[in-house]
């Protein structure tokens, strides 16, 4: 493999990883507050949909390329928050099983986005083609051989994702808000005793996950597919859940896991360039990322510990 393709491999890795970084970071915020979020896939679908529709109408209204795309990102975040409220209301206020209400989100997403797309676009199964983001390169740095192409020419959403991981990490571990959020996920009874509003923090955790997963879905629409249709997200939300668990519910860990998934998706495009790979059935190459994950989990990571109160209702009378 030449050095040039190595640079491209890193670049492709980051493109694939971006959506998963956003969504798994969102999952971390929800689950750190004690609310299981299996609805990441659905939230991503809603985000991808909102980005498609928002971006489309922004372009129709005459906004230039990138600013229309940012409208798409913003609509995805807002829509993600709104939808995540269904999960929050059901599982926090009405004490529904958190696993179930997460799955409900996935179910609603699959049906309702396609229904709405058909209503808005006169029976078509997808939004019209949109411009989306184009890659930006950081002046001077991009000229560094190999690394320049790899790290300093990317979609703006990739930089945003990395920035949010750092912000997310500091928020969770270095601010009073983060301490409170984690305490609610570890021991809500104790948190309540010292005057922390358990349910309010859990609502915030779920809403942050909605915004981030929504943006995650948006990045797929706005950078890779340039339209929304029923198979835009196709399982990446589940991968994000895996990345969150794999990363041990830590923003940096989730980031690392997301990059790992991005890498294993990217490498499967590159393996095919080599002559020796012709003798391997391509299904085996497609399997690689998932096989690798299991092997890594079994060999190195092992037992991962979820937040102690994850998935549990908080009932003050049982304190």
């Amino acid at each position: 493999m030449s050095w040039l393709t190595l640079g491209e491999l890193i670049h492709t890795t980051l493109v694939f990883a971006t959506a998963i970084i956003f969504a798994s970071l969102g999952g971390v915020f929800s689950e750190k507050s004690g609310v299981t979020n299996l609805g990441l896939e659905g939230l991503m679908v809603f985000g991808a949909f909102a980005a498609g529709v928002g971006g489309f109408y922004a372009e129709q209204a005459g906004l230039g390329g990138t600013s229309a795309a940012w409208v798409g990102v913003l609509s995805a975040a807002v829509f993600g928050i709104l939808v995540s409220l269904i999960h929050a209301v059901a599982s926090i206020t009405f004490k529904a099983d958190q696993v179930i209400s997460g799955i409900v989100i996935n179910f609603l997403a699959a049906g309702s986005t396609l229904y709405m797309v058909k209503l808005l676009f006169e029976g078509d199964g997808d939004t019209g083609r949109i411009q989306g983001f184009s890659e930006i390169s950081i002046p001077y740095l991009v000229d560094i051989p190999i690394l320049g192409k790899a790290f300093f020419q990317a979609y703006p959403t990739t930089y945003l994702a990395i920035l949010l991981v750092i912000i997310g990490y500091f928020t969770l571990y270095k601010t009073p808000f983060g301490l409170r959020l984690r305490s609610v996920g570890e021991h809500p009874g104790a948190a309540d005793t010292v005057g922390i509003k358990v349910n309010r923090l859990r609502y915030i955790g779920v809403m942050i996950s909605g915004a981030l997963a929504g943006i995650g879905g948006a990045t797929i629409t706005l950078t890779t597919t340039n339209m929304f249709s029923h198979n835009t997200v196709s399982g990446q939300g589940y991968i994000a859940i895996a990345a969150m668990i794999f990363g041990k519910w830590n923003p940096l860990g989730a980031f690392g896991a997301a990059v790992f998934f991005g890498f294993s998706q990217a490498i499967r495009n590159y393996v095919q360039l080599f002559a020796w790979s012709q003798s391997i059935p391509q299904e085996i190459i497609f399997m690689l990322p998932y096989l690798l994950t299991i092997i890594v989990l079994v060999a190195a990571v092992g037992r991962s510990r979820a937040p102690a109160a994850l998935g549990q209702l908080y009932d003050p009378s049982k304190r």
């Binding site: 209400s101 409900v104 049906g111 196709s234 399982g235």
Partner: protein, 359 residues
């Protein structure tokens, strides 16, 4: 029978019924917002399913894999496990049944068909047991392994079909041998060639097996105990790890059967798939509607099958996008899960009835 009915308490039955009504109402509201007539749409839906014998047979065919993937999820859930891998187990079971159905020549039907079914069941079970084993022995979260195993199962199924059983020039396997077919020819002819098969009977028997195993045997008791509280079960001398693997295996057997029946009873060949068929995920919805109870799963799959199969008729004759039905099903599950809302709706009815009794 009295015991059997006891698990269907009146309360849970009423809650489920009200949830279904609320879900249908919500779907109607969404249709009205979209400018469609919900009455026309729903009557088109139900008349498609229950209007003629062909469509009725096909609807039953649609319900069959849902019963089994629903049972798969519910069985694991009773043991405290989250089997999100029904999808992969379904595909692996399907592939095993295909290979046995295609490759084993010269067997009489009475041996060949059961053998293909057993192959599907065993491989589905083993596929799930991998996730169970990794959880028990290595502490790896079963959700993440199941998600990975779904993808691996998809590509493995395609690999096996492409390598060993591909029909030349087509994106599917060759047909299974007639001796492996489990179609019910005479019934199918009576129902206008609807693809009815013996798998439906086995699926219903599987629900009965689920009930007896879970609530009438020592092993079922252990599984439920582990599901309630692992530490207490360990203290009571139960082998928690073995129970986890066992629960996943049986759960996978159900999903594997679902896959086997699709090949042996319905299509008689296996397609090379671009993506997961989604039957495993639909099974989760069915199990949730049925509240992880085997007979609830049967009713849940009747409801789910009716709505999804009928939704096509809704789009034919009333021009309503069929996707709306996913919203209806989603809200039904939502209301069943968030019982607080439903209780609040039902409350006035209950108090009125009590007053009448007092008078």
């Amino acid at each position: 029978m009295a015991n059997l009915l006891k698990i269907f308490t009146k309360d849970s039955f009423v809650l489920a019924l009200v949830s279904i009504i609320l879900g249908l109402l919500l779907g109607a509201v969404v249709m009205l917002i979209g400018g469609y007539d919900p009455i026309v749409a729903y009557s088109a839906l139900f008349s498609r399913v229950y209007g003629d014998s062909y469509n009725f047979g096909e609807a039953i065919r649609e319900m069959t894999p849902l019963i089994l993937t629903g049972l798969a999820f519910a069985f694991a859930a009773r043991a405290g496990l989250f089997n999100i891998g029904g999808e992969g187990q379904f595909l692996v079971g399907m592939t095993a049944a295909s290979i046995v159905g295609i490759k084993l020549h010269g067997l009489p039907a009475i041996i060949h068909a059961p053998l293909a079914i057993i192959a599907g069941a065993v491989f589905g079970g083993l596929w799930a047991a991998i996730a169970g084993y990794l959880k028990a022995k290595r502490g790896v979260n079963e959700v993440i392994t199941c998600i990975m195993m779904n993808w691996i199962g998809l590509y493995l199924a395609n690999l096996v079909i492409n390598q060993f059983a591909l029909m030349e020039g087509e994106n599917r396997s060759v047909d299974i041998l007639p001796s492996a077919s489990i179609s019910i020819e005479w019934l199918s002819q009576m129902m206008g060639n609807a693809r009815v098969h013996w798998g439906t009977v086995i699926a219903v028997l599987a629900a009965v097996f689920f009930y007896i195993f879970m609530w009438k045997t020592k092993q079922g008791y252990e599984l439920r105990a582990v599901g309630f509280n692992q530490d207490a079960s360990r203290y009571a001398g139960m082998n928690v790890n073995r129970n986890i693997v066992k629960a996943m295996f049986i759960s996978g057997v159900f999903a594997g059967l679902a896959g086997a029946f699709e090949v042996l009873g319905v299509f008689h060949y296996q397609s090379v798939m671009a993506g997961s068929p989604g039957t495993g995920f639909d099974g989760i919805a069915v199990a949730l509607i049925g509240m992880n109870n085997p007979f609830g799963v049967l009713l849940g799959s009747v409801l789910f099958g009716t709505l999804t199969y009928g939704s096509a008729g809704m789009s034919f004759s009333a021009d309503v996008p069929p996707e709306i039905i996913r919203v209806v099903i989603g809200s039904i599950i939502f209301f069943i899960a968030a019982q607080g809302i439903v209780r609040w709706v039902v409350k006035p009815l209950y108090s009125k009835r009590k007053k009448e009794k007092v008078l």
